[in-house]
């Protein structure tokens, strides 16, 4: 069976940082990415990131992917990268099964960092299964990776950061956005994102939801309705929108299947997006060999995912006895960065969530 110090599942922002941190401290790393290229969802993020210099603030996500990937190229003696490699199962004895291309492979790493990210939530409304109804991230992939517009006129459901950012990117790609609606009474995403779309003429309509899609083989229109304070539809407020795409951006769910399989203790924490693993301050789960990083620890910005990745990489390496002189200082630096990214009002819900799944103080 293939052995390695640390296997990392997921080559997105968290996984890439974890690989860099672990290898810098001398651990051998096998990085598994199910897609044909590294970067995860960074490859479609054309907007500039928030945060500080340490998290590549003001650099576009797509460029950050390249920067992180290039860092690993200088460490090919320690870091092996498998693309087109999907982790299929993580067993209680620590064996990881992988589909590598068309091969089925078993791996026995000493430590595993799971950084599998999240998947897009779905919504129930009439005809919600019609073609033309896409996850917001799907539309982003289609536009920004493949260079293909999703359609002519879009209804965006959800005014969180993803809904706002993808709406802006739709405008940049020359697609009309009929409206952004959100069931909540206020905008969930950063208001600077909202402002830049609003000033381009796109209405943002809060306390509204979509009740049905129209169309035979694909979307031809949508009905939206106002909601009262108890989130109940207000009769007589229905409006029909002439759209050929409905974009669903109602949040992400942590993609934690491997952790369930491995027997990690999980807890339902709404502030973090769903069921997430219980962990200590070094991102170790209740299964000793298994570490976590990125969106599957709780839905946050990619800036936090990168810092978590680095922290998990350092901690996993350290637990195996790999220690550079700066290791302790580096771990402290990660913790400080996470603390500062989460210290403002927009981080409140994250901190509330974290308090429910943290093993130590």
């Amino acid at each position: 069976m293939r052995e390695v110090d640390i296997a990392i599942v997921g080559g997105g922002p968290a996984g890439l940082m974890a690989a860099d941190a672990a290898a810098t401290n001398g651990a051998s790393v096998l990085l598994l990415e199910r897609d044909g290229h590294l970067g995860g969802q960074l490859v479609k993020q054309t907007h500039k990131f928030f945060g500080s210099e340490k998290q590549y603030a003001s650099v576009r996500g797509v460029k950050i992917a390249t920067i992180l990937e290039e860092k690993l190229q200088g460490m090919s003696d320690l870091v092996e990268i498998w693309t087109d490699a999907t982790a299929l199962g993580l067993y209680e004895d620590g064996v990881l099964t992988v589909e590598k291309g068309k091969e089925f492979v078993k791996i026995k790493p000493k430590r595993i960092i799971v950084a599998t990210g999240a998947s897009e939530k779905f919504l129930t409304f009439v005809n919600n299964d019609l073609p033309g109804i896409y996850g917001a991230g799907a539309v982003q992939t289609l536009m920004n990776v493949n260079g293909v517009r999703p359609g002519q006129r879009v209804l965006m459901v959800g005014a969180g950061n993803i809904g706002l950012i993808v709406s802006y990117q739709l405008l940049q790609a020359g697609v009309e956005v009929a409206a952004i609606i959100d069931a909540a009474p206020t905008i969930g995403g950063y208001l600077v994102h909202a402002s830049k779309i609003r000033r381009a003429g796109v209405p943002i309509i809060t306390s509204h939801t979509v009740t049905r899609a129209y169309g035979k083989e694909a979307v031809e229109g949508a009905t939206i309705v106002a909601l009262d304070e108890k989130w109940q539809p207000l009769p007589g407020t229905e409006q029909e929108l002439d759209v050929d795409v409905i974009c669903i951006s109602v949040g992400l769910s942590p993609l934690a299947e491997l952790l369930w399989q491995a027997g990690c203790e999980m807890r339902y924490v709404p502030q973090l997006g769903g069921h997430v693993p219980v962990r200590d301050h070094h991102l170790k789960t209740t299964v000793d060999e298994v570490y976590i990083a990125g969106d599957l620890t709780g839905i946050e910005e990619a800036s936090s995912a990168m810092v978590e990745g680095r922290l998990a990489g350092l901690a996993a390496a350290s637990s195996l006895g790999f220690k550079s002189d700066s290791l302790e200082a580096d771990i402290l630096d990660c913790k400080e960065q996470l603390k500062s990214l989460r210290s403002g009002p927009v981080g409140d819900h994250i901190n509330q969530g974290m308090a429910q799944v943290m093993l130590d103080k």
Binding site: F122, H193, I204, P233
Partner: protein, 269 residues
């Protein structure tokens, strides 16, 4: 209103403006960043230290207008595209506004463009004075436009071409029930909300029971798309808390693979 529409209230904007005296004395940056988010590139880029250092990365940016020259670097670097460069000092009738603008085609110097306010409503025409591409700053061009002086802090966006007005559609008198039984809740297996509700009524109230009985979550998505919706429905109908509902087992493989691959599996590579 800001929280509902994304349009900053008048007071927020007027509080961000420097004094009348300062406005009349030369170009300045106005930072329309009114929400505490973890972000600080503007404080680092300013060559004059006019955007004061933050104690905490979530602090709102604060300006020292005595040293700001309106150079425009902050407008180019701000990830939120929330900084504008205003010059009200060179004429009695007109003033200029620099707007970060990430769209194609870019306007050219001399173009007459439509100027919109923070809500995207047309305010006035404006003349493009210059376009700085800012290649060094991740290609966020800043377009400087001359507008009537009294409108300079109203306009925040520009549009090149005349576009047909899009009227918001009128209300539909057709009053549908919000979520009829026929709505699909599990795409892979084509299971409707009605089928799920019927099972819950019969007492089946965890994810795995439903999965075995009506195949919800049994398809290629393995519950990734539908699990939380089905659990919500269980929660709604039974009054159980979401976190108290059994999610069911997760088993390998995480994606469909061919039997051929499993059989050909290797121990060592």
């Amino acid at each position: 209103m800001y929280l509902k529409t994304g349009v900053a209230d008048k007071e927020l904007v007027s509080n961000a403006l420097p004094t009348e005296e300062r406005r009349a004395s030369g170009p300045y940056a106005i930072i329309e960043c009114f929400q505490e988010i973890p972000c600080n590139p503007c404080t680092e880029i300013c060559p004059f230290g006019s955007i004061l250092p933050m104690d905490d990365i979530n602090d709102l940016p604060r300006m020292d207008y005595d040293t700001c020259t309106g150079c425009g670097l902050c407008a180019a670097i701000c990830p939120g595209l929330a900084i504008f460069i205003i010059n009200e000092s060179y004429s009695d009738t007109v003033a200029s506004v620099g707007i970060p603008y990430e769209f194609v085609p870019l306007p050219q110097k001399g173009d007459v463009v439509k100027m919109m306010d923070r809500a995207g409503e047309f305010v006035t025409d404006g003349k493009v004075l210059r376009v700085v591409p800012n290649k060094k700053y991740e290609n966020t061009p800043v377009v400087t436009v001359e507008v009537p002086k009294d409108k300079v802090n109203e306009v925040r966006f520009l549009q090149l071409k005349q576009e047909a007005e899009v009227a918001m559609p009128t209300a539909d008198p057709n009053d549908e029930e919000n979520l009829p039984d026929t709505t699909i809740i599990c795409r892979c297996e084509n299971i409707t909300v009605g089928e799920v509700r019927k099972m819950i009524d019969q007492g089946y109230d965890d994810f795995d029971e439903l999965k075995r009985l009506i195949r919800t979550g049994m398809g290629p998505c393995q519950g990734r798309t539908c699990r939380h919706l089905i659990m919500q429905e269980i929660s709604r109908k039974t009054g159980k808390k979401f976190e108290d509902i059994e999610l069911g087992a997760f088993r390998p493989p995480t994606k469909p693979i061919q039997l051929e691959q499993l059989i050909g599996g290797k121990e060592d590579v």
